[in-house]
């Protein structure tokens, strides 16, 4: 299998605070991976390093063999945890905006999904509810045909019914040629969708294991293990 993400001694410091500490990690295509960890464990920092929004203090991160830059962004579809889109734009125009930006964007697919979720494409992003905004952003991110989808808290604000639709969308989009990395706190909701989970704690990788391996060896769910490992 092809490696899509590689971290070699990846370290990120903010002043004297170490957000990521000598992280070594290699992820292969064809997987849906959960990036889990308590608040402030380094999840978003890692994701921002992948996207080139943050430069590592030391070490290296490679996306499909590329350092973050033009080539890596061509194959990585990123859903930020906060809205980064111009919110005065109408949904329909945002679709075309993405179409212009990304060669791998599937316009028809985006409109289909917007229709399935009954989103009014003539509305401006800023006039949509919080959950609907999130759905629009996720649809845009998933409509690309990328090698790596990097979703930072994609289901936090959406209702359970739409959550199911979104998870099905992620599954439907699954390909052996791509990997999906999902950072979330809602482990229970997505546990069955995941191949593998990564536990981050204080900037270190605590665990990198297949979901069924955890269940098989420990007889508990990932959610239960998370609560055990990160007990406050």
């Amino acid at each position: 299998m092809d490696t899509i993400l590689e971290c070699k001694d990846l370290t990120k410091r903010y002043g004297s605070f170490t957000a990521l500490s000598s992280l070594n990690l290699s992820l292969e295509k064809g997987q849906i991976i959960g990036l889990l960890g308590p608040n402030g464990s380094g999840k978003t920092t890692l994701i921002k390093c992948m996207n080139g929004l943050l430069a590592p203090t030391s070490g290296e991160i490679l996306v499909g063999g590329y350092r973050p830059g033009v080539e890596s962004k061509r194959i990585l579809s990123y859903l930020p945890e906060r809205n980064a889109l111009p919110d005065w734009m109408k949904v329909r125009d945002l679709v075309h905006y993405f179409q212009d930006f990304y060669a791998d964007f599937r316009t028809e697919k985006a409109f289909d999904m917007l229709k399935d979720l009954k989103i009014d494409i003539h509305k401006r992003l800023k006039n949509l509810s919080k959950g609907t905004k999130e759905k629009v952003q996720l649809i845009l991110a998933m409509s690309r045909k990328a090698d790596l989808y990097c979703l930072d808290e994609p289901i936090g604000g959406v209702d359970p019914a739409s959550r199911d639709y979104i998870l099905r969308t992620i599954l439907n989009n699954y390909s052996e040629q791509a990997a999906v990395l999902i950072s979330t706190h809602l482990i229970q909701d997505i546990e069955t969708v995941l191949d593998r989970v990564l536990f981050l704690q204080d900037g270190e990788l605590k665990l990198n294991a297949a979901v069924d391996e955890i269940r098989e060896q420990r007889g508990i769910s990932v959610d239960a293990l998370f609560r055990e490992v990160f007990k406050c």
Partner: protein, 123 residues
């Protein structure tokens, strides 16, 4: 979306579900099984996990793959019958164990079952 218990590997639970569908006739002998993608969608489960469950069932002989054509349920009715009694046996063992924990002896259990089936028949 299928419900899963939290204490067992998901692929084992998927195998249970699919076996149930085979013994109860939802999938008939010789039927083509839905694709991995379709099953993954229906169950809201990772396709690799579905794949694993199907490979295990294939190894047991209850499914077989026809190159490029997909996966099919075995046409061997005896094998399906055997699977059915095997699943029934598992249920029975579990049930008896629970009843024993409640303090029932096998003969009491039989009386209970007879009484229950008479009542349901009367309804």
């Amino acid at each position: 979306m299928w419900e899963f218990s939290t204490d067992r590997p998901i692929y084992l639970q998927l195998m249970d579900r699919l076996q149930l569908r085979i013994v109860n006739g939802t999938y008939q002998p010789g039927d083509k099984l839905p694709s991995v993608r379709e099953l993954a969608q229906e169950a809201s489960v990772n396709p690799n996990t579905i794949q694993k469950a199907l490979s295990e069932l294939e190894r047991s002989g209850i499914l077989y793959t026809q190159r490029t054509n997909g996966r099919f349920i075995t046409e061997d009715a005896a094998m399906i019958d055997k699977l059915k009694s095997q699943l029934a046996e598992e249920q029975l063992v579990e049930f008896l164990k629970k009843m024993k924990d409640f303090g029932y002896e096998p003969k009491d259990i039989i009386t209970l079952i007879e009484k229950h089936s008479q009542e349901t028949a009367a309804d």
